[in-house]
Symmetry: C2
C-alpha cells in the first residue's frame, strides 16, 4: 500500500450551537481543512463521513454525507457514510486512508460531524443510549449500578440512559481503585490537566481551569466520577484532507503521515484478551513499525478522566497498575515525557460523538507540524490517537488507534 | 491491488416477517453464505455491514453490525457500518472489497440487512422519506407531481412520503415516453419479465406470474406506473464472503471475481454528464478491462419497471432511446442475449433497501457458478450489478456498479 498523509485539517470549536445544523458546522470544518491544505474542494475525489446520531437529531437517517455536502458544492464525488458510535469518524478516517493507500483515489475528505444539543430533551436523551444494543440497554444499566443504588430497584430505560456510559466508566474506575490502589485524587488530577490544556485550546468547548479541589467538589455523577471529570455532550465538526504520497509532496512541505491504523472490536477487559485498546495499539504500532515508547503526543478517548488514566496502561505508556504513578509524576502533562490529550481531551474539548475521532487527528496534525500554539509539545514527531465507540454486552464495539509521524 | 473474489453468498427470502428481526434475518443470510463458501465464521477477519433504516425500524441508530452479529458469535473482528440508502450494501461490498484488495485483510464478510415492515405504520412511512434531504422532502414532492395532481395543492410531507421515489420514477418514465416514443406497454412488459423470473426464484418476495394485461390493470401508482411495476417494501438480508486471490483458490474451485467496482454520486440526468449509472458503469468496466458488450447477465436497480428499461440505455446495453426495442425483441429475458434481473429484480424479488445491493451480487454469484436453477443463464461468465441509493435535490446520492467474472 502507498504512503498516505494528512495535508490539511480543521474543526469547529466544539460547543452548544442551538442555531447551527450539520451542514453549517461541516462547512466550517471542511473550509478550514481545505484552507490549511491549500486544496480546492474541486480536487476532492471521495468523501467518507462519520456521524452517529443525525437520525435522532434531525431525522436524516440516510445519505448524510450527500445531504451535508451537497449545498456546499461537493456533489459529484463518491461518498461513503460510516458509523461506529463515538468512533464513527476515526472509522471514516481509516476508510478514507484505505481508499488512498490502495491507490483507488489520491485525494479524500474525511469528515466527522455531530449535533447533540436540541430543544427536544427526548432527542438528547436518546443519543446517550444509541451506542449500545437497544434491546439490552435496560438490563445493562441495572447490572452496572453501584451496590448502593441497586436497592432502589430498576428504573426505566429512557429516563436513565443519560448516564449508562458513565456508569460503565465509574464501575471500571472503582475496579481500578480496588485492584491497584489508584485514588480519586489521581483521577481528579487527570481532569485538572485536561481543563488546563483545554484552556489553551481555542476550539475547546470548555476553556476554564479548575483546581483539584474544584474537580472533586463538582457535582457527583457516579462514584468516583464528578461532573468535571466527565465529557460533556456537544455539537461540532472536524475534517481532514487525506492524500497519497505524491500529492502530499505537491501540496505541502509538512505532511503528517498516517503510519498505522487499526480498528478492532470485542472484549474490552484487560487481562482477558488484552482489551480492545491494547489490541488496536499493538496492531497499529506493528503497522507503523513503532512502539508506544516512540510516541511524543497522544489523544485518547477520555469519556471520563479515570478512563484516560486506565488507558495509559492499556495503550502501553506504562505497566498495568502504574497509571496513577504517571499522573503523580506529571508524565502526561504538556512538558512531561508523553503529553496526553493536549487538546483538553473529551473532558474539556468536548465530545460531539461523530466528530471526536477526526478532532483527535486534528490535534495531532497541529502538534506534529508545530502549529499547536500555547499547548505545543516541543519537538513532537510521532503522535497517536485512540478512539472508542459503543458497547455490546459490556464489550467494546469499535476501537481505533491511528499512529502518525512527520 | 490484489484480485478479490466472492467465494460464498447467501440470502433470506425477501418478504414480510413480522416476527423476525435484524439479528435473525442476518444470521440466516450469513449462515448460508458461510455454508456455500465452506468458510467458518471464526475465519472472518472483518465485517462491513450496510443498513439504511434500523434507526427508524428498531431504534438501533449505532453500531448495528456489532449488535446484529454479537449474539451470533461474531464479535472479535473489526466492523464498519456503511450507509448509502438503497445502495447501503453495495457500498458495503465495495468497502469489503477494498479491505481485501488492499492487502489489509484476507477474509471479509459483507452483509446487507433491512427491516421495513412494522406494526407501526408511521415507522414504515418514515423509511420512505429517509433517502433524501429531509429538509427538502416536501419541496421535492410538490415539484415532481404530475400536472393533474398539482392542482390539488400541497400535501403534508409525512403523509405523501410513501410515493416520493415513485413520483420521481414516474416523472422519468413520462419524459422517456415523450422523448423516445416508449410505450406504457413496453414498461409493463419489463414487469411481466420480472415477475416471470421471480416465479423461478425461491428467494423472491413475490413468485406469481402476470400477463401484460394484468400488469396494466393493477392499481395505478403515478402515471404510467401501476402497482405491479413497482418494487414493494420488504424485510431481508443478504451476505457475501469476500476473499483474497490466494484464499479464493484455497476455498473453492469456483470463485466469482470482483473485476470492477465503482461508486459515484451527483447528477443523474443523462445528457448532462451522462448520469450516475453511466458514469459508474464506465468506471467499473474500465477497472475490469471490459465493456457492456461483455456482460452475460445483469442485475439493475429496478425500483420500477420503467427504470429498468431506461437503465438499458444508461448502462450501455443499447443506444439512447432503444430501450423499448430491447424489450420488444426479448433481449433481456432469460434466453435472450443479455438477461437482466433474472432474480426477479426489485419489482418481484423485493427491495429491503439495505439488503438489495448484496442480494444482486448473490444472484450474479449463482449465475456465474451455474447454480441458478430454473432461471440459469446458459454459459454466463461475466455479470454486473447496478444499485442506486438516495437522492438530493433530484441528483443521485450513491450509485454503484460492480463487474464480476469467473
Amino acid at each position: 500500500m502507498r504512503d498516505v498523509a494528512i495535508v490539511g485539517a480543521g474543526m469547529t470549536r466544539f460547543g452548544k450551537y442551538m442555531d447551527r445544523g450539520l451542514k453549517d458546522l461541516s462547512r466550517e470544518a471542511v473550509d478550514a481543512a481545505l484552507d490549511s491544505a491549500g486544496v480546492d474542494k474541486a480536487d476532492l475525489e471521495i468523501a467518507v463521513v462519520g456521524n452517529a446520531a443525525a437520525g435522532l437529531a434531525t431525522g436524516q437517517e440516510c445519505i448524510r454525507a450527500q445531504v451535508i455536502l451537497r449545498d456546499y458544492g461537493i456533489d459529484k464525488i463518491p461518498m461513503v457514510n460510516t458509523e461506529n458510535a463515538c468512533a464513527s469518524s476515526s472509522t471514516a478516517l481509516q476508510v478514507a486512508w484505505l481508499y488512498v493507500a490502495s491507490g483507488m483515489y489520491d485525494v479524500a475528505l474525511a469528515l466527522g460531524v455531530e449535533k447533540m444539543y436540541s430543544d427536544d430533551k427526548a432527542k438528547v436523551m436518546a443519543t446517550f443510549g444509541a451506542g449500545t444494543d437497544v434491546e439490552q440497554l435496560k438490563q445493562i444499566m441495572q447490572q452496572l449500578k453501584p451496590p448502593s443504588e441497586k436497592k432502589a430497584g430498576a428504573e426505566s430505560g429512557a429516563g436513565k440512559s443519560r448516564s449508562v456510559f458513565m456508569d460503565i466508566y465509574a464501575a471500571g474506575a472503582r475496579a481500578h481503585m480496588a485492584r491497584h490502589g489508584t485514588t480519586k485524587e489521581q483521577f481528579a488530577q487527570v481532569a485538572v490537566k485536561s481543563h488546563q490544556n483545554g484552556s489553551l485550546n481555542p476550539h475547546a468547548q470548555y476553556q476554564e481551569r479548575y483546581s483539584l479541589e474544584e474537580i472533586l467538589a463538582s457535582p457527583p455523577v457516579a462514584e468516583p466520577l464528578t461532573r468535571l471529570m466527565c465529557a460533556p455532550i456537544g455539537d461540532g465538526a472536524a475534517a481532514a484532507i487525506v492524500v497519497s504520497d505524491a500529492k502530499a509532496r505537491q501540496y505541502t512541505t509538512k505532511p503528517v503521515w498516517i503510519r498505522g491504523t487499526a480498528l478492532v472490536s470485542g472484549s474490552d477487559h484487560p487481562g482477558e484478551d488484552g482489551g480492545t485498546g491494547a489490541r488496536a495499539a499493538q496492531s497499529a504500532f506493528e503497522m507503523a513499525g513503532m512502539t508506544p515508547a516512540d510516541v511524543d503526543v497522544a489523544e485518547v478517548h477520555d469519556a471520563s478522566a479515570p478512563a484516560e488514566l486506565m488507558l495509559y496502561e492499556e495503550l502501553g505508556f506504562c505497566a498495568e497498575g502504574e497509571g496513577g504513578r504517571l499522573v503523580d509524576e506529571g508524565v502526561t502533562t504538556i512538558g512531561g515525557r508523553l503529553p496526553v490529550n493536549t487538546s483538553g481531551g473529551m473532558v474539556s474539548k468536548g465530545h460531539p460523538v461523530g466528530a471526536t475521532g477526526i478532532s483527535q487527528a486534528y490535534e495531532i496534525f497541529l502538534q506534529l507540524r508545530g502549529e499547536a500554539g500555547d499547548r505545543q509539545v516541543k519537538d513532537a514527531s510521532v503522535g497517536m490517537t485512540h478512539n472508542g465507540g459503543g458497547m455490546v454486552r459490556g464489550e467494546a464495539a469499535a476501537t481505533t488507534v491511528h499512529v502518525f509521524s512527520v
